[in-house]
Amino acid sequence: MTETKWSVDESLIRDFSTANNEPEWLLNVRLDAFKKAEDLPLPKPDKTKIDKWNFTEFGAHNVQSAPFNALSALPEAAQAVIGEENDTQNVYVQRNNTPSILKLSDELKEAGVIFTDFATAAKEHSDLFQKYFMQQVVKADEHKLTALHAALVNGGIFLYVPKNVEIKEPVQAVFIHDDAQAALFNHVIVAAEANSSVTYVENYISTVKTEQGVANIVTEVIAGDNAQISYGAVDTLTENVTTYVNRRGITAPNARIEWSLGIMNDGNTVSENVTNLIGDGSYADTKMVVVGRGKQSMNFTTKVVHFGKHTEGYILKHGVMKDEAKSIFNGIGKIEHGASKSNAEQESRVLMLSEKARGDANPILLIDEDDVTAGHAASVGRVDPLQLYYLMSRGISQQEAERLVIHGFLAPVVNKLPIENVKKQLTGVIERKVRQ
């Protein structure tokens, strides 16, 4: 790996850490990870070769962006996902690498909820943050990209929900990418203590095109005893941004994590979504929709690992590939020895709209326990020309007919998304992505 070109060096990491007044432990994590990144191999997503992908070259590690002074100053796409400004809103807006707006209601502040940007979390909640940051869920030394992430993390959010606190309104984070030089190494931690509940929704919005960009995003979700976390994400990063996004969660007994993911990036993307069901009686549900277009290549691994007894894991993914887009859908249900009475279910479906689009679905069940149930369904197919003929015979244009078929193909997932806001957003995003 001596040929790897780096856009950063050790002194830059030191300077960045100093400038942000980071605690020493964090600088040490960074430096240690940076050393390891050199030698660690890239991850090996099944059936997609990523060794020529650009994960290391980008314009600048830290771009300074003028903060937005109000929600009404945000780009339209960002305003659309946040909605009208109000007093009970809990929202974070990051512009490239710069924390820009942070609103947390007094009620939640009083309840002890922490919702703050990465740098502030590391500085002001150092001990608590250290307990979570790349310790229990994702480790820095898993592979080159997690190591790079730990070394270079330059944004993100920390959401901490104390015991017994139930947050009703969704907490939102909007990451705006509007500087072609920016590289996004965002880290998100959502930690919900026992008997708490929270819905978190994040958006990645590019409003700029770039020659070469990198997004390396890691999310760690920690659900305490009987806690419920609903995690929504709608990613719309621009082409030429290579994205590695790892969203991973762990559950204590009887905890639930629900993922609602809409991955609509226009660039090459490796997405890894894993839930480790550690506690007995815990539950994971992943619903994901994807639209690929142009020449992008994407790899999606969705995995639920059952350690606890009576655990349930559900995966439902639908993807549409247009133009020359390629995608691999890996679904893995893994039941460890001892996780008796568990259930692992998954369904993956890919629809290809053109001759040159490619899709593949690999359902995998790895079961090391007898007393369990499991099932999988997968299909990959091309759009039925007779469906298009039928729609067009009613005067509907080919483009509109394709739009209806795509919309219809994704609807069984979109309609079941537990977060209303994500459902609404995705309908619009799908529409835009399909139209162009």
Partner: protein, 258 residues
């Protein structure tokens, strides 16, 4: 709106390189109801598919025009917007797209951007037509044809016909698989379309349909051509005597396309 004319001249159509239609001539005007009858395998459904532009059928010779415009030059959706409609024998099922959403797209495809039909008006119209066709209201919100029974699919085709109000409609075996009550309901919908601005071509095996929808012209198809034409009385004679007398009269041994 004025009367339209669909003119088919010397139409030859092949599928997978095999010629099915071998010179069909037919003219349908607004206000007229035509019926094409004939045994299986004589090319009736091929004719309807070729007029609409089914991707598998290739027109090798002849012309189709609507009010002088070359239909064969048009894409499927352009044919529809020009005023043609085909009620299909086997309508596609489309998951995730509701019947109402689909119908509204079809209506709006005929309107300018910014002049889309209001939701209220559309729903009122659709509800009225569904009542007439004795369709359950929940069928508006069900996915297009998915899990519909044979009879429900046929009613749904007629619902589309009534909503779109084409100039010329082709109904391909709209009566197949319908019990007598459903046939009456479907016929009621079709008869409601009657008028100077609406021409219709019904394709059927059976005279039964024509008891409810009286045709002005009846054509018999054999060997990929129209071999005999007449008025409503021709259908009645076919019902009473079958097709053998025509075969004898014309010296045809095997009526199917060879």
């Amino acid at each position: 709106m004025s009367q339209s004319t669909l003119t088919i001249k010397d139409l030859h159509v092949a599928i997978d390189g095999k010629e099915i239609l071998k010179g069909v001539n037919l003219e349908i005007k607004g206000g007229e109801f035509h019926a094409i009858m004939g045994p299986n395998g004589t090319g009736k459904s091929t004719l309807s598919s070729a007029i609409m532009g089914h991707p598998k059928y290739e027109v090798t010779q002849g012309t189709i025009t609507l009010d002088g415009e070359d239909v064969l030059e048009m894409e499927v959706d352009e044919r529809a917007r020009a005023g043609l409609f085909l009620a299909m024998q086997y309508p596609s099922e489309i998951t995730g797209v509701t019947n109402a959403e689909f119908l509204r797209s079809a209506v709006n495809a005929r309107r300018e951007e910014g002049d889309e039909i209001s939701l209220m008006k559309f729903i009122r119209q659709m509800d009225g037509n569904m009542d007439l066709l004795e369709m359950d209201q929940d069928m508006a919100q069900r996915y297009l044809n998915e899990g519909f029974s044979g009879g429900e699919k046929k009613r749904n085709e007629i619902l589309q016909l009534m909503t779109i109000e084409p100039k010329i409609a082709i109904l391909d075996e709209i009566d197949s698989g319908l019990d007598i009550d459903a046939l009456k309901v479907v016929s009621k919908g079709i008869n409601k379309m009657r008028g100077e601005d609406f021409g219709c071509l019904m394709i059927t095996h059976y005279q039964r349909l024509l008891n409810y929808i009286t045709p002005d012209h009846v054509h018999v198809m054999m060997q990929g051509k129209i071999v005999k034409s007449g008025g409503a009385e021709l259908a009645e004679r076919l019902e009473a005597e079958g097709y053998d007398w025509i075969k004898q009269e014309l010296g045809i041994e095997d009526e199917t396309v060879q």
